[in-house]
Symmetry: C2
């Protein structure tokens, strides 16, 4: 029996998603909470996007496999459905910087990682002292110079579509860096922040933050808009591309196909990307 | 020479606005930073709304009086105007949970407290587990039961206007509790949170949080909408009115009249309210 959990977390106090010995990670805490609530030795989970240290999530998705008896046992005599009881008990055990926002029995063929058709991230920048809100300082990068959103959008247009994003990725042995960038655009939100919406079938390691770093170089006027596409075409890391700080980045949403297409999507994604290739952010 | 500063702060780590010996307060930190930057012994400031422990601000306003020579000295050889140099240097000295968002020379007759014509607060509640966002947990109250916003608005309608709000205030010797409530309404924000907008000429101590507590009792169905106006009319604290937690409350905006009317407004407000009566939130 496979369950799907939707998670949100404040990445500030986490050493990223993936379990690491003796470090506070989201996966480590979640698996510990599941083991406690389900009274099992270990409950491995698989996530849609393995966020780095300091990166936040509002729309992280995970799956886990569990025996129906364990789930029923965890629910106890609760009058609500077992998955709802599980959600409540998990949130009772977890610290308040990570919340399970939904729990449900997954459709056949669902795989949090390989069934996903796209991931959407947001990167938020306050590029004026008057925009810096201490109430948002954990999720917004304060930048000392004004950014030209139109110039950044002009640069972004040259990066959309399927490309080898090696120039914007931390290389991993045996992993492809070909991705399809579906959206990369900058808007001013109602408060005046510069917000990037970055959506792709998947991301390689550091890709969003390197893309944003390249856009910022353009937005400041240090590089012309066409430079970003030139870097992409060269296919090697460029010293002009800075990986921007993690705390401005949030995994906002992961999309899945209709239930009937889950297994086919998972099969296609497994073929396309090596098992080590889905590290996000 | 009088300066106006616009401030924002995350109240989580502060023991409120007002200076208290050996406690971390916004006033204490700000006056310390001003003394350091202006190289003076003490720089007393006056604020528009003295927020309680844990209450946040996006639109706090303060004034301070300074000799032009001190301001020029603090600016040093900076090429920007002295108030802009002061803003930069203050933000360099202050911790990142309090930011000066604007600094300017105040118009004649300006008094951050007595010239204000109204203060506007917001109170934010996530009344469903699916709405609880760990990235907003410092500024949003998580409430375990759904709230009926229409019922809360019906209750609010009976409280608008000029009344003696003694039933919703922590009483202070010699201070009037007559206030003019200009707005009290609930909306769902785009994320689905229940957000109260509370605007009045001024507030007495605990008034916003007691008003919100009364609305929540109505929103849950524990009390009928007409009950709030009954409590108001009785004029004494009611055991059914809970003062909700501080962290959901943010001082969003303080409004001032046109420059020509600043002094007249200050005079009128001084007559209306005793010096001890403007404690907000």
């Amino acid at each position: 029996m496979r369950l799907r959990l939707d998670l949100a977390y404040d990445g500030t106090e986490f050493h990223g998603w993936a379990t690491q010995p003796s470090l506070r990670t989201v996966q480590g805490l979640l698996e510990g909470a599941l083991a406690q609530v389900l009274r099992l030795e270990a409950v491995p989970v698989t996530c849609a996007g393995r966020t780095d240290t300091g990166v936040h999530a509002r729309g992280q998705v995970v799956h886990l496999d569990v025996e129906p008896e364990s789930l029923a046992g965890a629910a106890g005599r609760s009058p609500v459905p077992p998955v709802d009881a599980l959600l409540r008990r998990l949130n009772g055990v977890l610290p308040d910087d990570v919340r399970v926002r939904a729990a449900r029995v997954a459709a056949d063929g669902f795989d949090a990682r390989f069934s996903a058709v796209w991931r959407r991230y947001a990167y938020r920048i306050a590029d004026d002292p008057a925009l810096v809100d201490p109430l948002a300082r954990r999720t917004v990068l304060a930048w000392p110079r004004r950014l030209d959103v139109d110039a950044m959008n002009a640069a972004a247009a040259g990066l959309l579509g399927e490309h080898d994003f090696a120039a914007f990725c931390k290389r991993r042995e045996g992993a492809t860096t070909v991705r399809t960038l579906l959206d990369l655009r900058w808007d001013r939100d109602p408060a005046g922040l510069a917000v990037a919406t970055v959506r792709a079938d998947a991301f390689c390691h550091h890709m969003v933050r390197a893309l944003v770093g390249a856009m910022v170089a353009v937005g400041e006027g240090r590089r012309p808009p066409g430079w970003a596409a030139e870097v992409l075409a060269r296919g090697v890391r460029d010293a002009g591309v800075t990986v921007v700080p993690a705390h401005g980045l949030t995994l906002e949403e992961v999309a899945y196909p209709d239930d009937a297409d889950l297994a086919a999507q998972a099969l296609a994604a497994r073929r396309l990307r090596s098992p080590a290739g889905a590290h996000d952010g």
